[in-house]
């Protein structure tokens, strides 16, 4: 506060700005009055543990110059649990702290309960991580997704969190599969993707014949099976090394990495 200005405190000006923003937000809420739907929504947000970081802008409007109503525009921060994501996945995100949460903008009218516009805003890096079009596929307001702001925010957060959890689970499964190849064919490793565990290459020999086995895990793994490419070290087809691709072999996404590798060896 300007009343407590401390010239020796380097953060003093920042604190003043923060206080100003806070007071401005309260002022905006007071414009809505008391005991109406919008003021109850504000009150719910302010007292919630999980969604109390928000900004609000209220616009006063009227129809035909007589009937006054209000448009409340919220920008609410949706915090996400990203600690479960491996560092290799989040290393680009960590350079920009804005990437680990999302923002939901909501526009509500005091005179029309059903007229609610929402827009999920995600940092491009997070959007790329979760799969493109995450914002467009966000659950819509209303129906089973809730008719109050808090109910809807919980649905949105659950939607995003499930995607993050799936990324973490798929990473663990990929890592298990690639590590299983490396350990099973101990001593045969040529190279593997040690960041995202999407591929590995091994040099193998049978009856004096050497060949390279390239293992690629598609983005849909484990639901989608690994792609196996067997490449010759002796022959070319045209200008490229001779190789054949295997996408059809006994497979189940429920198998552990160890079992997958043992069965693939059997096929090879």
């Amino acid at each position: 506060s300007l009343s407590y200005w401390n010239i020796s405190n380097a953060n003093c000006f920042t604190l003043v700005i923060k206080e100003l923003l806070s007071q401005y937000g309260l002022y905006q809420e007071r414009l809505l009055g008391n005991n109406n739907r919008l003021s109850h929504e504000c009150s719910s947000l302010r007292t919630s543990k999980d969604f109390n970081e928000y900004e609000i802008l209220v616009k006063r409007k009227n129809t035909n110059g007589y009937n006054t109503y209000y448009e409340a525009n919220f920008l609410i921060r949706v915090n996400l649990e990203t600690e479960i994501l491996p560092p290799q996945v989040t290393k680009n995100l960590s350079k920009d702290t804005q990437g680990l949460h999302a923002y939901l903008s909501v526009s509500m009218l005091s005179n029309d309960v059903s007229n609610v516009a929402t827009n999920l805003q995600i940092h491009p890096l997070l959007d790329n991580l979760l799969g493109n079009n995450v914002a467009k596929q966000c659950p819509r307001w209303g129906g089973s997704n809730g008719s109050t702001l808090l109910e809807y925010l919980i649905v949105v957060r659950r939607y995003l969190q499930e995607k993050i959890n799936r990324i973490a689970e798929n990473f663990i499964k990929r890592k298990d599969c690639i590590n299983s190849f490396i350990h099973h064919f101990n001593g045969a490793l040529l190279e593997y993707d040690c960041e995202n565990y999407t591929c590995a290459s091994l040099l193998l020999v049978t009856n004096g014949f050497y060949f390279i086995l390239h293992v690629s895990l598609p983005s849909g793994f484990p639901q989608s099976m690994p792609v196996l490419v067997i490449q010759s070290v002796y022959h070319r087809m045209g200008i490229l090394p001779y190789k054949e691709t295997r996408t059809s072999y006994p497979y189940s996404p429920r198998w552990s990495g160890k079992e997958m590798v043992e069965r693939i060896q059997y096929v090879l």
């Binding site: 560092p87 290799q88 099973h184 064919f185 101990n186 001593g187 045969a188 490793l189 040529l190 190279e191 593997y192 993707d193 040690c194 960041e195 591929c199 290459s201 040099l203 193998l204 020999v205 049978t206 004096g208 050497y210 390279i212 390239h214 490419v229 490449q231 070290v233 002796y234 070319r236 200008i239 490229l240 090394p241 043992e262 060896q265 059997y266 090879l268």
Partner: protein, 247 residues
């Protein structure tokens, strides 16, 4: 096969290797320098296969082509360069991730007369062109030099070991060797040349030698595909497809 002085990894080298491997939650693309012997012996050493014969140089071009294409399949960020070895070393092309560029360079080089080979020239050329960063630079790439030497008479020598010693201490520099030679006899220097290479390499290096066997040549070049940061020590490798599987 020539006899190999047993390579024992000292404790410091083990620590250094484990540091680089343990830190590998990050992919390190390679800058691979193919150092190809262009002496006349590469044109006179013949490999016979199925009624036909090819020179070591012809086979080397083919196996290098398969090598760079295979590395490119594994990681398109790997880059390649070529040094030609005559009496000294000559930088032939800058780093490129395009295997076709390497193929094109090899298509135009030709073996020639040589009287000696100065190893100092090779490492000086590497130091000037491969830009090997020091350990704390946070450099993204590692540099691997693959020396393909094809002389059975001419023993490599060092006019100066200063640059070599500096490079060999660098954790991000790796040296592998493929020695192509005649059958060792009293009339050639194959054994002593091989021993020279044994003294040159680090414990995490790969050293292979091949005597006029086409299949072994390609087999060993395939083993050199292994990424130096992720691979096993040479004596720990096991490529056998058939492992015990309880089915």
């Amino acid at each position: 096969m020539l006899t190999n002085n047993e390579k024992k990894e000292n404790q410091q080298d083990t620590m250094n290797r484990n540091i680089l491997v343990d830190q590998s939650t990050e992919n390190h693309p390679e800058n691979i320098v193919i150092c190809l012997d262009l002496s006349n012996e590469m044109n006179t050493t013949l490999f016979k296969s199925k009624g036909s014969s090819m020179t070591a140089f012809q086979l080397a071009k083919k196996m290098i082509d398969i090598f760079v294409n295979s590395k490119h399949i594994m990681n398109p960020l790997h880059r390649f360069a070529v040094i030609g070895l005559y009496d000294g070393a000559s930088w032939m092309c800058d780093f490129t991730s395009n295997p076709e560029s390497i193929n094109s360079i090899l298509h135009h080089v030709k073996p020639g007369d040589t009287q000696e080979f100065d190893m100092a020239s090779l490492f000086q050329t590497l130091n000037e062109n491969a830009v090997v960063e020091d350990d704390n630079s946070g450099s993204f790439y590692v540099v691997r030099s693959i020396l393909i030497y094809g002389r059975s008479i001419c023993k490599p020598h060092f006019s100066n070991q200063e640059v070599f010693k500096k490079l060999i201490r660098n954790q991000r520099f790796f040296l592998d060797l493929l020695y192509i030679h005649d059958i060792p006899t009293e009339d050639n220097n194959c054994q002593s040349i091989y021993e020279t290479f044994c003294d040159l390499i680090k414990p995490n290096s790969y050293l292979f030698d091949v005597t006029k066997n086409t299949v072994f040549l390609f087999d060993n070049m395939a083993k050199l595909l292994a990424h130096p940061v992720q691979r096993y020590l040479q004596e720990e490798t096991n490529y056998n497809l058939h492992r015990n599987v309880p089915m």
